[in-house]
Each structure stands twice: as C-alpha cells, then as structure tokens.
Symmetry: C2
C-alpha cells in the first residue's frame, strides 16, 4: 500500500519501484504504520516488554514522523507512567567551550541530580541542563551561577537559532531588514530566509562580490574603496548604509572579508572580516581575525553578523563592539 | 607545547586553557604530532603490529590533518606495501536511487571484484565503484553498462560539486555569472561563492524577497508580476534577464517558488518552484513540484538551479527542459 502511494505521488509506474522499495513497504506483523516521510516509513510496535518505535535515520525524516509516533496510544500509555524532566537551555556566544565548562564545574556542574551537557555548535556554546522534577530548584540555582560570570555572553535561553532571534527583535520593533554581503556570499541572507515567515521582516539582499557592484549597486564610493580597500570597516559601513537606502529598509547587515585560501595580504590576511549593522538609532561594528578554512571563515562571519545584529537591536542605539 | 601555541594564537593567558586543553595537549609516548586543526591535535604512532593514526572527529578537522598523516614515514612505509585500488565516481541527477540501483544490479553490480556503493546525497545519486588493480577492465565495462541506460542523467565523473562544475563551464567559455533569488534566499549564491576562486566568474547576486524589490532592483514589470504572480515561469525569466542587464553579466540564474510552510494556494502550492537560466546564446527553464519541508524545498531548488545552469552551458544555446 505504501509503495503504491509513493508511486502515485511520483507519477511513475509501480513496477519501477517494486524491487527497490519492497523492503520499505513491509510492515512487521502487529505493527502500526506512522505514514511516510518522502519514501521512508515509520512504525510503532507494542510487544509484551516494550514499545518499539522505528523511524528513518535522516534527522529531517525522523522529525517529520516523530509527532505521529507520540500521538499513538502505545506511546501515550508509556508516557502516562513517566514524569517529564525539567530542561533548561542556555546559549552563549563569544566565550570558549573550556571557559563555559570551567564555570559550570565551579557552579556544581554535572551530577547531583542535574545532567549538564556543553556543546560547541555553530560557533556558539550550547549548555543543556536536565533535572528530575524534584530538582527544579537546583536547576534554577545552577542557571543563576552560570549567568553570573557568563552573563555578558548569554544571548538566549531557548532553542531558537540566532537568525530567528534577529527576525523576532526586528518584528517586535517594527523594523524591516536587508543584507549586503561580500565574503559570506549570501550565507547571511540564506540563514534569515530559512526561517518560516521571515518575509514580513526580511526584504532582500545584495551579494556584492565584485568591487564594481559594491560601488554600482550599494553606492560605496570608488574613492573610499581605493583608499580603504574592499575589506575595511569603512567599506562595511558604506555597504550597510547603501543597503538601507537602496532597499528602503530600517536595518542593514554588511559583511566583507578575506575568506581565503587566496586573496590574503600582509595587512589584510585570510580570515580578516569586517561586520557592520546599521539601524535607525545607531550602528554596531566588529572586526574579526578568524582561523580556519574558507568554509569556516564564511560560516563564522555569517554567525558573527547575526549576533552583531542582535546586539544592535537589544541596545537602543548601538555602538562599536 | 601545543596548548601554549593555541593560547598564543588566541592571545589569551595560558592559564585559561590549562585545565580544558590538557587532554588535547597530551602526546602519547613515542607518538608523532601532526600539528593542530584549530585546537584539535592529530598523532601518528608506530607500534610493532600496526601504524595508528589518531585524528579529530569533525570532518573538516580530520581533512585538514590527513595530508600530514599521509606524509609521515610511518604511513609511507605502510603504503609502499599496498596497491591502490582503482576507483570510479559516477554522479547522476534527475533519476531515483532505486532506478540506479536496479541498473547497477542488472549490469553485474556489487561483487565479482568490484565494490559498488550507491548513495543519494544533495538530491543527486552518487555511485562509487572500487576495484582491485587486476579488475580495471571489469570497472570500465560496468561504467559502460551504467552510462548506457542512465547516460542522460550522468552529469559528472569526478567528485567536484555541481557549483564547481557551473563555475568551470563559465570559466572555459569566458562567461561571468550572477544570481537572482527569491525562495532560495541566497542559497545559490552561497554555494557558488563557497568555491575558492569563484570571484573570477561570479560577480554577485540579488536576493529579491519582497515583490517590490523584484520590480525595483531586477526590473520585473509590476504588470507581469500582477498578471502571472511572483512564482511563475514569466517572473523567473524576467528576474534572470534583469540580473543579466543590471549586474552586467553573461549568464544569470533565477529561482522563484513557494518554500512553505505558508504561502501556498490551490494554483500555486507549497513546493512549486520556477527556475530560469539565461546566457548569451539562449535560455533554459524548469518547473518543479517539490515534496518536503521548507529547508528541503529550498535546498532542492538551489541544486536544481545549478543543474539547470550546467545543462544550459553544455548545450550551445539552451532550450526549455
């Protein structure tokens, strides 16, 4: 039944699929189908000893079928006997994983009713705290002790990615947003537009890779480019200003840098990145010297630009970082 | 020594790191350091029975240290005793994994001296064929049998990603390139600019998320937008034309679609994507109805746009797909 439905959806003869998807279409005896994620099935099977939930491996497919698994009577019966643990998420930016781990250890850390996980991800440090129901006070205390010394780096206490925070802050303040990118080449825009509903805030962006486009499309003056170079605080500021004016938005984010492996000089080595965020009440800027390969420099610069925007939007006016 | 070097590179006091990185800085007795990828070390250790190579887990860090590992005398001695197997890579686009697997099985497939792996990755089907030195002829024959029925879908026989192929084709033909993106929001530009040296071909791009920017920045006429809608073959073509003229490039790639989860209608459901590639000698276009969530639709549309460009650049003029 499942493979026929897939064949119909793809408008191809069933025979094309028969051999290849027979395995995927086989339902174990007594099992309940959770439907399909693409062509991948999920099943729930109640045995005497346990409830088995089989889901596809790829995270996206797993995530799509998981809600259906939770809704089944089998899983609901199981959940009725359990108390969900308390969970707290703390996300830091601009501090090293080892510093966070040290503060966490000094604060009591792992063990004693709380399970703490520190994970460096996407150039941020994510701390997950999980406690049994009885230990909620312990968790509050641990959060307090972390937020003390690390408060300046704490940017979120939920799981929304940084691009979603930027969009939320703009939305709350009734501001529209645009990007002007050079070395990140569209990565900042791509992250922002990855968020469902981003179109009410994000209007568009320029990828001004060639210098003549920085001048022609973003209004960066050729004199400024000649004097300071494409990778400079001055050019980043001019790109942001140009995007605000040109695209008619209130907030603009600009990135220019040397992603490498080529293009570096003694004064402007590979990894040098200038960021600029400009809003109606002020601006913030940052200069980074990023280690790593082209991909790392680009991804890290994009994350840096999003954090810079958050900082600008959280202060009233904004100032140099 | 290693941790001191890291501390110096990050310009932080060594004491900050002492506890956190002591483990990373420990060199097993008799082992040879391969240097660092970020703060992660790699080592080679020759024992009586074997050569042990320990590398960091994250793929990027592993890839950075691997060449150093291969250069060591320990690994070179080992390699001197082995014959490298023959390897062939075939990459297909526009055909299902199960179809490729069926043709491969009919062609003799796995076993009989050849190890064949079929992997669906990035919406392409990658086939890896590995044979012992003696079986090179077998491998040629297998490739011939696959390329027969699947030749129309075979786009590459090396491991370069599709964006690198697009850039190479432009470079060979002396053409410059730009993008005009709506639903992909910068993903196509980000993939192209991810390739080192892309700046000699790729000039820049627009992310025209709001309709007024499609009109103002890309010259899509408001009448055309009103008559056909932002997600239409007509708008995709006008976006490509606008990018060519506006950015002064020879080849432009345009993407417009409904990424979801909102924004779908009966006539234009979530997953509908129009692609258009225009070059000096002609144009190619494609319409997709993509299944999956927002992220999948966007990523798949971006890959589709890159393949459309390849097809345009490989034909002399280009025509509707």
């Amino acid at each position: 039944m499942i493979s026929r439905r897939v064949a119909e959806r793809l408008r191809r003869p069933f025979a094309d699929f028969q051999a290849g998807v027979r395995k995927q279409a086989t339902l174990p005896q007594g099992a309940l189908s959770l439907g399909l994620a693409g062509t991948a099935p999920g099943v729930v099977l109640q045995t005497d000893a346990a409830v088995a939930v089989a889901l596809p491996g790829p995270p996206r497919e797993l995530q799509r079928l998981w809600p259906a698994a939770v809704r089944t009577a089998e899983v609901q019966r199981l959940l009725a006997h359990t108390t969900p643990p308390y969970r707290r998420v703390l996300r830091f930016y601009g501090v090293s994983e080892s510093q966070v781990a040290r503060v966490l250890a000094e604060a009591g850390g792992d063990g004693a009713g709380v399970e703490a996980t520190v994970c460096a991800r996407d150039f941020e440090i994510h701390v997950d705290l999980v406690a049994d129901g009885a230990d909620r006070a312990l968790l509050d205390e641990l959060e307090r002790r972390l937020a003390g010394p690390l408060g300046g780096f704490l940017f979120s206490t939920d799981e929304r990615p940084i691009e979603e925070l930027v969009l939320s802050l703009c939305r709350e303040q009734g501001l529209t947003l645009a990007t002007a990118e050079s070395c990140t080449g569209g990565l900042v825009a791509a992250r922002l537009t990855g968020v469902p509903g981003s179109s009410d805030v994000f209007r568009g962006g320029f990828v001004a890779y060639a210098n003549e486009l920085k001048a022609r499309e973003l209004g960066v003056s050729p004199e400024l480019l000649a004097r300071h170079g494409a990778v400079s605080a001055e050019t980043a500021a001019a790109m942001a200003r140009g995007a605000r004016e040109r695209l008619g938005v209130e907030v603009a984010l600009a990135v220019t840098g040397v992603a490498g492996p080529g293009g570096g000089t003694r004064e402007k080595p590979v990894g040098l990145v200038h960021l600029h965020a400009e809003g109606p009440a002020g601006a913030s800027s940052a200069e980074f010297s990023l280690p790593g390969d082209r991909e790392t420099v680009r991804r890290r610069a994009a994350v840096g630009a999003l954090h810079l925007a958050t900082q600008l939007l959280r202060t009233d006016g904004g100032s140099a970082m």
